[in-house]
């Protein structure tokens, strides 16, 4: 009887390898032995510009975290989006801009409420927090998307920030924002929507850039160290691909047999 469940052996081994790489990188960063430099992510740097623009124009910021909840497979994108929401809310409070947030899943509402309120308190503007600015529009894809679209047009938002898991509504939201003249910063790890944001938004975060957002914005050396560890994970994948190509070409199936375990 195997210790690890059938079909998951290779997955577990790879998880341990990536975990080890990330933990080593975390440890090195935490102890100050090596804190990697992280390249600029234009989309995240643009958030402050977007908030500033909204303040100057006297128009609100529209923020969404896509269609995810905390229960599904895309929760990690939603959580990354919520981290960015906290950062944006603090900037909005500091500059005096109105921030509208439209959660898709009701499970996120209490979290968002807490995050935005705490951000306003941290910025020293607790009285500026308005819970009515967090509006639940309904838990279905297109009713939600068109609710956001309608709010974008009615409020004439000056900045749209969309960070999280998106599906077909991504282009709808991005186009609506363009035609209201909003600056748009968008990010998703859903591969089938990345290109819509790249094409239609002013700044786009692609894939793991979204997941690095929390670490990037916090500037915490420990979190940044974990990004370096993740890069090693990708390097491991590249080496495995290259070795696999060579072995398969030579007729050696040891690696493909391992991945079938």
């Amino acid at each position: 009887m195997s210790i690890i469940n059938t079909g998951l052996v290779a997955s577990f081994v790879l998880l341990i390898i990536v975990l080890a790489e990330i933990l080593v990188a975390l440890f090195l960063a935490r102890t100050g032995k090596y804190v990697p430099k992280i390249r600029k992510i234009a989309g995240l740097e643009a958030i402050e510009e977007a908030v500033g623009r909204a303040t100057e124009m006297g128009r609100p910021i529209t923020f969404t975290t896509g269609l995810g909840g905390i229960r599904d497979q895309y929760y990690y994108q939603t959580v990354a989006g919520l981290s960015i929401l906290g950062h944006t809310a603090e900037l909005a409070a500091k500059y005096g801009a109105k921030l509208l947030y439209f959660p898709y899943d009701p499970t996120i509402m209490p979290m968002a409420h807490e995050i935005v309120e705490q951000s306003y308190i941290r910025a020293g503007k607790p009285e500026a927090f308005n819970p009515e600015n967090i509006q639940y529009l309904g838990g279905d894809q297109f009713p939600w998307a068109f609710g956001v679209l309608g709010a974008t047009y009615r409020e004439q938002s000056a900045a749209n920030i969309h960070m999280g898991p998106f599906w077909a509504e991504s282009l709808i939201l991005a186009e609506a924002g363009f035609y209201t003249g909003a600056i748009q910063v968008a990010g998703t790890a859903n591969y089938h929507q990345i290109h819509f944001f790249v094409v239609a938004a002013d700044y786009a975060l692609i894939g793991e850039e979204l997941m690095a957002a929390g670490a990037y914005l916090s500037k915490d050396p420990t979190q940044i160290g974990s990004l370096w560890g993740a890069d090693f994970g990708k390097l491991t994948a590249m080496i495995l691909c290259f070795v696999g190509i060579l072995l398969t070409a030579a007729g050696v199936t040891v690696l493909s047999d391992f991945f079938a375990l």
């Binding site: 469940n5 990330i22 933990l23 975390l26 705490q118 297109f142 790890a189 990345i194």
Partner: protein, 220 residues
């Protein structure tokens, strides 16, 4: 509320629950009592999430009720929203109350409303995406740079390959489209998928260890 309650207890719960699910996924065989216990845990979370659905409904109704009472912007549409929600709820509950065999089977009225109203409304809204794609393609597909040019050319080729008109213009378009999908697209998507997966693992480890705390709100 103290920092212990607001931050450290949630972080501890996150770590413990995360480790339970990892252990269950990799080491507990399906059908064993331990695995069934974690399935019970997952089911409990489902119940909590369903409760949050009720919260969402209450918030939605409250928001629109306040809008109506204050004669806020577009308050007339708030009436339509509330009437729609309540009517469909009544139709669904009526089906449950009158159905003989099982709770989840829809009544004929519910099915009629679904098939003749909801389905068509959803299709209509989704079809608006075609117009947005047309306007986005018109304004964004410009030969600004090498990357934008590649995007434009490949996008146009795929448009022709995916519709019969492409084969009518040149019989090689469908095969070219298949090659683009199978070779360069597969390579690029493979890389993106692996990158996203590793990034997700990194984020999950940061959350489990309590290093990433942005979702709890900023620290005071």
């Amino acid at each position: 509320m103290s920092v212990v309650v607001k931050r450290y207890i949630p972080l501890a719960i996150t770590f413990i629950m995360g480790m339970i699910m990892v252990i269950a996924t990799y080491f507990l065989a399906p059908g064993t009592p331990a695995r069934d216990a974690t399935a019970l845990l997952t089911g409990t979370v489902d119940v909590l999430v369903a409760t949050a659905g009720v919260l969402g409904l209450v918030v939605l109704l409250r928001h629109h009720s306040v809008n109506i009472s204050r004669r806020g912007r577009f308050w007339q549409y708030s009436i339509i929203t509330i009437v729609g929600v309540i009517l469909y709820l009544i139709v669904g509950l009526y089906g449950i109350a009158t159905h003989e065999t099982q709770l989840m089977y829809a009544s004929e009225l519910f099915s009629w409303v679904y098939a003749n109203l909801y389905v068509h409304m959803d299709m209509t809204i989704f079809s608006l995406l075609a117009f947005f794609i047309a306007s986005a393609a018109y304004r964004a597909f410009r030969l600004r740079s090498l990357e934008a040019s590649i995007l434009l050319i490949v996008g146009s080729l795929m448009l022709l390959a995916n519709a019969p008109v492409g084969a009518a213009i040149w019989e090689g378009f469908p095969d070219l489209g298949a090659w683009l999908l199978n070779v360069p697209n597969a390579a690029g998507n493979r890389a993106i998928t692996i990158g996203i997966a590793v990034g997700a693992i990194s984020l999950a480890i940061r959350q489990l260890l309590g290093v990433e705390r942005g979702y709890l709100g900023p620290e005071r």
